[in-house]
Symmetry: C2
Subunit: 111 residues, 2 copies
């Protein structure tokens, strides 16, 4: 395995960490699925990874963008603003967002 | 909620994404617990968040460091090198590592 730039550099990573308020929630599932679908169609979107542990209710979603402007634009999309409001008010007991500039990356199977 | 720098800037984020080969494995659990304990005692360590979905076996671990040198030093710790070898050979069917420089962060409950 050696260094390989999966996204190219520069790229922007947005790390969203959250704790869900409840185990199960149809509205949450619908909103999360809608956002997952929508984010992939945003200009400048590169990829997204989202994982949640159902026991701890803790989740991490990392989205990658070609630049900061693309990441900021997604934050301002109307449907996403509404999802963020629901997140603050009902879905998450707490959350954090970290924005970072990718400097290097490598992966299994790289030549 | 407003902007708040959880870690201060600059900080380095190391995003480790992986897929486990099997559902359950005592050796993996022991190694993962040991690494989680050990990483917290490294010079320059700030915090770590690790989540895995037991159904998809997909996991994301994000560790935060005061600087790049601290993150690189942890990668070279002997026990961690051995854990990385086990990861490549047995624990993970695939994985990626992204290193990024934190530019801003905010969290719920910020003033």
């Amino acid at each position: 395995m050696s260094t390989d730039l999966a996204f190219g550099v520069p790229a922007i990573a947005v790390i969203f960490t959250s704790t869900r308020t409840t185990d199960y929630d149809d509205e949450y599932r619908a909103v999360a699925a809608s956002m997952d679908d929508m984010v992939r169609r945003q200009p400048g979107f590169l990829s997204v990874e989202s994982v949640r542990d159902p026991v701890t209710r803790r989740g991490v979603t990392v989205s990658y963008w070609v630049d900061e402007a693309s990441a900021v634009a997604w934050k301002q999309v109307a449907e996403h603003l509404e999802a963020q409001r629901l997140g603050r008010e009902r879905f998450y007991s707490e959350y954090s967002v970290v924005v970072a500039s990718v400097t290097r990356s490598y992966q299994s199977g790289s030549a």
